[in-house]
């Protein structure tokens, strides 16, 4: 009905379908407090957007989703800028490496498969881990409170060179560690179009030992900058960022996120976690099915229209 032509994806889509998808993604990210990148790429693939364009446009949407959170945390003084900057130097380097890999895979014609496969693996892993974790939490509650975890245990990690002092995080650790974590997140952003908070946040807490109150703001700061750089790199190197697509999704997501946040306030943590784990596993299953299902038409014939 109201078809709109996406210039980069080279296809026509109903404008309300895109706005609605953006709304649903915004609702879910507001509800679960996640960026939503992991939902956008698969959904775009489902409606027929080529996977490279889905990744490039999704990472653009991640910038929009995380920037307001980053600003809010900055006002409250919850960002360790020194740590965040080391993380994002690693992140931009990782993003560059990821883009190179992306282009190599594209020239080999394998990029679609790699994107979908890495999504199946990532979503499957994250969903399973979440289920295990919430199951264990329920068991712990039944048995009655677990002991406190020890936070600062000395391991080989503390023997690494290039030590730096991070005042806000009250840490004195090797800069190689945040650089490496940032690098991994950068690759994820470039290859999959996600912000990577699901990996970054636990890594900063458990591997770096940062205080949780600082971690959330610092991770949003890193994600905003790395996703921005990745969007730019994708647009320049592969021309895979569809501004019309990303803009419409963002427009819907802004409205949806407001509703999601309000709705989520009425739900308990364990319920939310269970729902999120289910959602992740459903998307994973659907992507897996797309990969292995036999095509409905093995071949098709059409008249070639050759433009003069």
């Amino acid at each position: 009905m109201f078809q709109i032509y996406l210039p980069i994806a080279e296809m026509s889509v109903d404008i309300f379908l895109l706005l609605g998808m953006g709304g649903v993604i915004g609702f879910l990210s507001g509800l679960f407090g996640v960026g939503g990148g992991f939902l956008i790429t698969p959904l775009l693939i489902f409606i027929g957007v080529p996977p490279p364009v889905a990744v490039g446009s999704s990472v653009n949407q991640v910038v929009a989703a995380s920037v307001s959170g980053a600003i809010a945390h900055w006002r409250r003084g919850n960002i360790d800028f020194k740590m965040g900057t080391v993380l994002l130097v690693g992140g931009v380097a990782g993003s560059l490496a990821g883009i190179l890999l992306f282009n190599i895979l594209e020239s080999l014609g394998q990029i679609d498969l790699v994107i979908q496969l890495s999504y199946v693996v990532m979503l499957g892993g994250v969903g399973a881990l979440m289920l295990v974790e919430s199951g264990r939490a329920i068991l712990m509650r039944r048995r009655g409170g677990g002991g406190r975890r020890k936070k600062h245990v000395h391991t080989w990690i503390h023997g690494l060179p290039l030590k730096m002092r991070f005042r806000t995080s009250r840490l004195y650790i090797s800069a190689l560690l945040p650089l490496g974590i940032g690098f991994a997140v950068g690759i994820l952003a470039a290859l999959m179009g996600v912000g990577g908070g699901f990996f970054l946040v636990p890594a900063m807490i458990y591997l770096l030992g940062m205080p949780v109150s600082i971690v959330i703001g610092t991770s949003l700061y890193q994600i905003t900058v790395v996703a921005g750089a990745t969007t730019f790199l994708h647009a320049v190197s592969g021309q895979t960022v569809d501004v019309v697509l990303a803009g419409l999704l963002t427009l819907g997501a802004v409205v949806g996120a407001q509703l999601g946040t309000r709705f989520g306030a009425g739900l308990k943590g364990e319920e939310l976690r269970g729902l999120l784990a289910m959602l992740v596993l459903i998307v994973c299953g659907a992507l897996f099915w797309e990969l292995v299902a036999p095509p409905t038409e093995f071949f098709n014939l059409s008249t070639l229209t050759v433009s003069p």
Binding site: F32, M130, A137, R148, V201, I205, V212, G269, R273
Partner: protein, 168 residues
């Protein structure tokens, strides 16, 4: 929460001649002035002081381990804050205050503490006149006024030590 029917009856376990102050603290300078005021009055009336700090519930995090650590961290900060203030109370009034940490919405938690502990006679909060009505004061004066069964004292954070001594 205890039963609602008896909230309006007299404070059951009130000790004759002893006034118990509940001070709501958050680590801000005005809340410290409120503690100071309550201490001086408690000292002069041989009363007691209870400090309450309400922590925001941890927001939802994707990983429950992360959420749990956030909760632990906030609880640790709250305990450190109350320990500091307890030392101040000891200096000002020569008594050890009761310390309470609650997690939840601040207004609801104040009400439920007052409901549960019938020996509390007065509620004391600090305000910052420079910033206009704070969130807590607005809430207590507007929303809570009808449900509060004990007097509420609002102590402006601008009071000097001398002024506090004069009015207690």
């Amino acid at each position: 929460m205890s039963d609602d029917t008896s909230t309006a009856t007299s404070r059951a376990s009130h000790v004759a001649g002893q006034v118990k102050f509940l001070v709501c603290v958050d680590g801000s300078p005005p809340s410290k002035v409120a503690v100071h005021y309550a201490c001086k009055r408690a000292k002069n009336t041989e009363g007691r002081v209870a400090l309450l700090h309400v922590v925001q519930p941890a927001d939802f995090r994707q990983w429950s381990g992360v959420e749990e650590m956030m909760r632990e961290e906030r609880r640790g900060e709250a305990e450190a804050l109350l320990q500091d203030l307890a030392a101040d109370v000891n200096g000002w009034a020569g008594i050890m205050p009761e310390l309470m940490v609650r997690e939840g919405r601040i207004g609801d938690e104040i009400l439920s503490v007052i409901d549960e502990d019938r020996s509390i006679d007065l509620l004391c909060v600090g305000s910052n006149p420079a910033e206009g009505r704070g969130k807590l004061v607005s809430f207590l004066a507007g929303h809570l006024a009808g449900r509060l069964t004990i007097p509420l004292i609002i102590v402006p954070g601008t009071l000097s030590d001398e002024q506090i001594v004069n009015i207690t």
